[in-house]
């Protein structure tokens, strides 16, 4: 029964996009495709089967959740060593941020909470966006799957959201040319649209998904969203075995809350992805459950699906640890430690679906530590070590 719940995450997902770019010569990269960034990947920090991973706890409930992940990993015997990197939210300088990015480049993989950017000055970048852009993590994947037995608006949802993660409305190009008139630019490029579309179709193919729906607003933004839509239609022709259709974002949101079962894989630009992700999380039980994965050609970052800091509940021992734990499980799948990932998944599903130990956000009264304790207890029942 539990096996149905196990995430259908493929192993080594990040590696699969090494195509195209690497068959080009350095000359071609420089002169024929000026938008392609040339990156010499640094080998990952894996020694003797143990992998070093950057851990960015971020603000709010991040540090608590990370300590739970550490505990569970320790008891499950996952061969992962964490390198914790803290970013000071009050600092105006980007030194900590640069160090965090360097650390992810060295390790190749990171698990991350939501990082606060307190500064309101236009020069200080939003750190979350800066990390994604600097590492070129152009796709965000969210697997939205219902947990049986959990209070939720909709039952039996199983859909994937694939979101362009680096451009669109998040290009951070805003200006005031004339007093009182502010322009914000939304940038859509053919190359990034193609990468993300190709990722979506490859992903659907590998995971046995049947249908991809491109979400857009090309009736209004005929050029920018039009380009995104055209690109995905073009790529769809290369994958005749996967059904492809399109839907306008406003209609999509309505359909999601009324009949979400019609969707399989959804492909969309940055801002729509942010909205749809949050809608889906709301449908199956809130911000505390799901995890999101960010992939680039060389790096991968795992984080909770809804990028909230949860400052109001920080330090109260009531935050739902499941989302961050799911991010950890995604990471183990990515690193190829399927056994450990399955063990933690089983323990987690048993805790929330069978034992019904729920934090307040799911309508329960349990503390965060109760949930984690139950998960660890389950892991220990199948272990013989004296902890």
């Amino acid at each position: 029964m539990t096996s149905r719940i196990i995430l259908r995450a493929p192993t080594a997902l990040g590696r699969q996009l090494i195509r195209g770019q690497h068959t080009m010569s350095a000359f071609e990269m420089q002169h024929k495709t000026p938008l392609t960034k040339r990156i010499d990947p640094i080998p990952v920090a894996m020694y003797g089967g143990r992998q070093a991973v950057s851990m960015l706890p971020g603000g709010g409930i991040g540090p608590e959740l990370m300590s739970y992940v550490r505990d569970v990993f320790k008891y499950a015997g996952a061969p992962v060593d964490f390198e914790t990197v803290d970013i000071d939210p009050n600092s105006e300088s980007n030194d900590d941020l640069d160090y965090a990015i360097t650390s992810i480049k060295r390790n190749g993989v990171a698990i991350k909470g939501n990082i606060e950017t307190k500064s309101k000055s236009a020069e200080t970048l939003s750190r979350n966006v800066a990390i994604r852009n600097e590492l070129d993590l152009y796709v965000n994947v969210l697997h939205c799957k219902s947990y049986p037995g959990l209070p939720a608006r909709q039952k039996n949802i199983d859909l994937m959201i694939i979101r362009q993660n680096t451009e669109g409305e998040y290009a951070m190009l805003e200006h005031e040319c004339i007093d009182g008139v502010i322009e914000s630019m939304k940038v859509v490029t053919a190359s990034n649209s193609e990468r993300v579309a190709r990722f979506a179709f490859e992903f659907a193919k590998r995971n046995g998904r049947k249908k991809i729906t491109t979400i857009h607003k090309a009736n209004i933004m005929k050029l920018s969203d039009g380009l995104f839509l055209e690109t995905s239609k073009r790529i769809a022709k290369e994958y005749p075995e996967i059904e492809h259709n399109e839907m306008i974002i406003d209609n999509c949101c309505m359909q999601l809350v009324s009949n979400p079962h019609q969707f399989d894989v959804m492909l969309m630009t940055n801002l729509y992805g942010s909205i749809v992700s949050n809608v889906c999380c709301g449908l199956i039980g809130g911000a505390g459950l799901l995890s999101g994965r960010n992939y680039g050609d060389h790096y991968a970052i795992f984080e909770p699906a809804t990028r909230n800091t949860g400052k109001a509940i920080a330090g109260k021992n009531v935050a739902n640890p499941i989302a961050m734990l799911n991010a950890g499980i995604d990471m183990l799948h990515h690193l190829g430690h399927v056994q450990h990932a399955d063990l933690i998944t089983k323990a987690m599903v048993k805790t929330i679906c069978e034992d019904k130990i729920h934090t307040p956000d799911l309508g329960g009264t349990a503390k965060s530590t109760d949930v984690i304790q139950n998960i660890i207890d389950y892991i220990l029942t199948v272990d013989v070590r004296p902890w």
Binding site: I42, G77, Q339, L343, W387
Partner: protein
């Protein structure tokens, strides 16, 4: 930590009956629909090696048996000096590849070659598994008299290229050329290993040992690779030192060193020098890493063949290597248990082997370690 504190009863139970529990819990769980986790017992390749290796391994196995450690050994006799009895290289390599951990004694390498083959078996094994990084943690043990105190340094050595490339030829009669190969890829790889090791173990400084003033291209490349990699680790201090100066500093003021990264031959020399500072080949453990596998072995490579069968060799190095192995495979409590017992026996000073100034036999030392095995304080505090 509340998570552990809540677990008191379970912990107490597990600590007391860890070896028995595995049997009972399988049966109980079978009815509850919970399967035993597949990696509850770990298998580990065991290569006793030449010289006193088999005696030392016996000692390790005694200790493992006495503490009920869930590790199964897959033993292979592997030797260059005894080729008829030796298991084939690919069999041993496959076993290590599969188990990902190996505990290995020292293989004797003769200083002649009957067949014209230049690579030693040790080198073949390293190349087959790509065990590129050798780590020797040299730490003073209290209770052993030595010239220096409080030494705590880690020597990281590239061990798949450099002088050990086994490329030697006599182009003109009487003139032998030996090639030392240095590649950017492998230099960067070992430099990154050293910095990652320093990051993981909260070390502050990495020293690159080289001879780039003479070998400007070869060692120069190694040094440049280390410098390049150092830029990615702004929080770790980086310094470079010429190998001859390094050996002098090592014997006069070894406390200044933290993590050292070296090419192949220099590493070999510095390893042995440093081991000598803290009590000799019998007391320092080392490990060789590839991306996927680790081979744990004594830090200084001596077979001590003159002591074979005399029951006088010091099993400390092998026991400490085993303790490191247990930490690596996520059994840190057992690892600490063995390490603490060994340290206690040496500190007490009643049972000492000949090399550290005593009269006891290998067996007596082993039994003394077994008598001192106890659950470390941290785990005990949680259980009480």
């Amino acid at each position: 930590m509340s998570v552990i504190a809540r677990n008191v009863n379970r912990l107490a139970l597990q600590v007391i009956s860890s070896s028995v529990r595995s049997i009972h819990c399988t049966a109980a769980n079978a009815t509850a629909g919970i399967e035993e986790r597949p990696d509850a017992r770990t298998s580990c390749t065991l290569i006793p090696g030449d010289g006193v290796g088999p005696e030392l391994m016996h000692s390790v196995q005694e200790v493992f048996k006495a503490s009920g450690i869930p590790v199964d050994f897959e033993a292979y006799f592997f030797s260059e000096v005894n080729p008829t009895l030796s298991a084939p290289l690919d069999v041993v390599a496959n076993s290590i590849q599969k188990n990902r951990v190996c505990l290995k004694g020292i293989l004797a390498s003769p200083d002649y070659s009957n067949t014209g083959e230049l690579q030693t078996l040790n080198m073949k094994l390293r190349n087959a598994l790509d065990l590129y990084a050798n780590v020797v943690h040299v730490k003073s043990l209290s209770g052993i008299k030595s010239r220096h105190e409080n030494i705590d340094c880690v020597i990281i050595r590239e061990q798949t290229e450099g002088e050990y490339s086994a490329l030697e030829h006599e182009g003109v009669k009487g003139v032998v050329e030996c090639l030392k190969i240095v590649t950017a890829k492998k230099s960067l790889r070992i430099a990154k290993f050293a910095f990652d090791y320093a990051t993981k173990n909260q070390r502050r400084k990495v020293t690159a040992v080289h001879k780039a003033n003479i070998m400007k291209l070869g060692d120069g490349l190694f040094l440049k690779s280390c410098e390049d990699m150092a830029k990615l680790y702004p929080k770790i201090e980086f310094e470079k030192m010429i190998v001859d100066n390094c050996t002098m500093q090592m014997v006069s003021k070894p406390q200044q060193f933290d993590v050292m990264v070296t090419p192949n031959l220099y590493g070999n020399i510095v390893d042995n020098l440093a081991c000598g500072l803290v009590g000799g080949a019998g007391v320092v453990a080392g490990a060789s890493y590839s991306a996927n596998a680790v081979v744990f072995e004594p830090g200084a490579r001596h077979t001590y063949s003159e002591a074979v069968g005399k029951n006088i060799a010091n099993p400390t190095a092998m026991l400490l290597a085993a303790s490191k192995m247990l930490r690596h495979i996520n059994l840190p409590v057992y690892g600490d248990m063995i390490r603490n017992a060994v340290e206690k026996v040496i500190r007490d000073g009643k049972v000492r082997t000949k090399d550290i100034g005593g009269q006891s036999s290998t067996q007596e030392f082993t039994y003394a370690v077994i008598a001192n095995l106890e659950i470390p304080k941290a785990a005990k505090a949680a259980a009480v």
